[in-house]
């Protein structure tokens, strides 16, 4: 994660996306405690104020909640958790579609390529591990 | 005040190795002077007595006896005093410049201490003054020791006269300066010494504040106050005025207090407002 941040996008937005990805793939589960802002800053090598801002935003989106004097936890609200997965897929596809549209590929051909690429590269990645 | 004393202690510690070396050197060299010169004289004397078939008394009548002034006048005796004096004068500069130059700029730390910078300044002045007094005190302590060794070595017949510590000091111009016989003499010598040190400190601070331009400013300042100080002496020399010794002393005393005060004030302003690390 360390230096994978894009320097032109707000870091706190990237941190939130990172959390959402972790939730979507099940690395972080409902009700799990999350690190303190200091710990997060240290792990990700980012400014503590930025970590703070990411948490504040996540709190507002209902992604995490904090009870007085306890560490913050990931929400247990199934509705929100499900929407995260959808949101990520939607956002990724949207940016993909935006890039591909100018090339004007017929939809069937596009889907075929996507399918091949997705399956093949998925396997490659697995064997590389 | 507490931090001032800590700073003085700190400054003394930094010079400790060289200081101890100077003391040991003085002690060894002066005792060597006593031993070697006395032994040399006696060897010469006995040889001559043997050759010329003289008695000890007739030898003394012919060639002269020996006394402690022969020791105090020697290079082995005066050399370490001059060396110590030179080292301390050199250290007046080094005590400042060592904090700026070299790999470690300790001046940063010193000037960022949560204490008045006047204490930083005074601690350096105090350290040097204490080291001067320390060396003089040690000289005063080892003189009787050296005199005792000397009188124990030399047979009475060859001894011109036994000397007291007072007369030893009085017989030697250099010793007379560093150990004046009277309290007022002490005040004059060390007062002037302090004043000169403060003026040298001011030149250094001018230089540390304005660099090359500062050297010129410092030298002009030193020249100006020196001119003021010697004005009454010159005036008397050219017979413009005539002052009784007591009056002259008074005038010079007042002038030196004014000059030292002004120098301290200028230095305070430089070290607080103008100095650059």
């Amino acid at each position: 994660m360390n230096s994978n941040f894009n320097t032109r996008e707000p870091v706190y937005v990237q941190v939130i996306r990172y959390f959402k990805e972790q939730i979507a793939i099940g690395e972080i589960v409902a009700g799990e405690e999350i690190p303190s802002r200091r710990e997060l800053a240290a792990t990700l090598n980012i400014n503590p104020n930025t970590a703070q801002k990411a948490y504040k935003e996540m709190e507002e989106q209902g992604l995490i909640h904090t009870e007085r004097n306890f560490p913050s936890k990931i929400t247990s609200d199934e509705r929100i958790l499900k929407s995260i997965r959808k949101e990520l897929i939607f956002a990724a596809v949207e940016s993909f579609v935006e890039t591909i549209r100018p090339i004007n590929v017929p939809i069937d051909e596009l889907l075929q390529v996507v399918k091949e690429k997705y399956v093949n590269e998925g396997q490659e990645e697995e064997t590389n591990d | 005040m507490n931090r001032y004393l800590k700073l003085v202690n700190f400054e003394l510690n930094r010079f400790r190795k060289i200081y101890v070396t100077l003391i040991l050197l003085t002690l060894l060299s002066q005792i060597a002077a006593v031993l070697l010169l006395t032994k040399g004289y006696l060897n010469d004397a006995y040889e001559t007595i043997k050759l010329e078939n003289l008695t000890e008394k007739s030898y003394v009548l012919e060639y002269g006896g020996f006394d402690f002034t022969h020791i105090t006048g020697s290079l082995l005796f005066l050399g370490p005093i001059a060396l110590s004096a030179g080292a301390l004068i050199f250290y007046i500069f080094l005590i400042w410049y060592r904090d700026w130059f070299g790999k470690n700029t300790f001046a940063y730390r010193l000037l960022m201490l949560p204490t008045s910078r006047v204490f930083v300044y005074l601690s350096k002045a105090t350290a040097i003054f204490l080291m001067v007094l320390g060396l003089v005190a040690i000289q005063l302590m080892i003189l009787p020791l050296e005199n005792t060794i000397y009188e124990w070595m030399i047979p009475k017949t060859f001894l011109n006269y036994s000397m007291t510590i007072d007369s030893i000091i009085n017989s030697n111009p250099l010793l007379r300066i560093i150990i004046p016989g009277t309290f007022s003499g002490f005040l004059i010598n060390y007062g002037i010494g302090l004043m000169i040190m403060f003026i040298l400190f001011a030149i250094i601070l001018f230089e540390r504040s304005y660099r090359i331009k500062g050297i010129i400013m410092g030298i002009l300042y030193a020249a100006a106050v020196t001119a003021v100080f010697v004005t009454p002496l010159m005036a008397m020399g050219f017979e413009v005025i005539y002052l009784y010794p007591g009056e002259l002393f008074g005038v010079l005393l007042i002038l030196s207090i004014l000059i030292t005060g002004l120098t301290l004030w200028v230095s305070r302003w430089l070290i607080i407002k103008k100095i650059t690390v």
Binding site: F5, T7, R8, E9, P10, V11, Y12, V13, R38, A41, A42, N45, I46, N47, P48, N49, T50, K53 | R3, K6, F10, R14, G102, K103, N104, T105, F106, Y108, R109, L111, M112, L113, P114, T115, S116, R117, S209, K273, K274, I275, T276, V277
Partner: protein, 228 residues
């Protein structure tokens, strides 16, 4: 807050600082950026009263006095303790003179940096000099810390260790003002940037705001202002 207001300074005829103004807040890491020789270090020295200047500098609304040195500290990029001192003696010196010296934190940092008490200052590598300097500065319970090029000229591992300090509790909620001529390594660590060139402030901004509102990183902004 450190407020630098219209400060100027000349070396001979050359204007090193020409009406420099900016602020550095408590709880934030502010970074003075500019190529070498644009007056970054001089600005830090001016704030610390280590060089004369014209203009005003206020630290929490007050001018610098001897008491300010227990509130703000400066970490230069060279060793500032005596070469013959051991780290232990250097720590004792600090403890002797500063009422805000925090021995617990000093010990923590010693551990954090894996430094040894008996090592002499003269024996330290460039990277370890930086660490010892950081230790001496951060172990003071001060509100503001100024650092001159904390990342320059030292090995990669020391650099990472020092970067770790910036995200750790060792900085707490203090105000940090650092200078650098190389921003890319630390872009995510800092809150605010002040771009200095030819003795003038070209731009002052918060990095996250710049990313959020204009989608630009620090280098983009630097290119922009240098061209203008």
């Amino acid at each position: 807050m450190i407020e630098v207001k219209q400060i100027s300074k000349k070396f001979g005829r050359k204007k090193i600082l020409d009406g420099v103004s900016f602020t550095a807040n408590k709880g934030e890491i502010t970074c003075l950026i500019g190529i070498n020789g644009v007056g970054k270090t001089t600005t830090l020295k001016a704030i610390m009263g280590l060089t004369p200047y014209s203009g005003d500098i206020l630290i929490d609304n007050e001018k610098l006095t001897k008491h300010t040195y227990e509130k703000i500290t400066f970490i230069p990029d060279a060793a500032i303790m005596l070469p013959q001192m051991t780290i232990k003696q250097a720590m004792e010196f600090m403890n002797d003179f500063y009422t805000v010296w925090n021995q617990d934190r000093a010990d923590q940092m010693l551990e954090f940096f894996k430094l040894k008490l008996e090592t002499r200052i003269s024996e330290l590598s460039k990277g370890n000099v930086a660490k010892v300097n950081l230790l001496m500065g951060l172990a003071l319970d001060v509100d503001y810390i100024l650092m001159d090029e904390p990342f320059s000229g030292i090995d990669m591992f020391s650099r990472e260790q020092i970067a770790d300090v910036f995200t750790s509790h060792l900085i707490e909620d203090r105000g940090v003002l650092i200078t650098t001529h190389e921003i890319s390594d630390i872009e995510h660590l800092i809150d605010k940037v002040v771009i200095l060139d030819n003795g003038k402030v070209l731009k002052e901004f918060h990095t996250e705001d710049m990313r959020e509102n204009e989608g630009k990183n620090v280098i983009d902004v630097m290119r922009e202002v240098y061209r203008a």
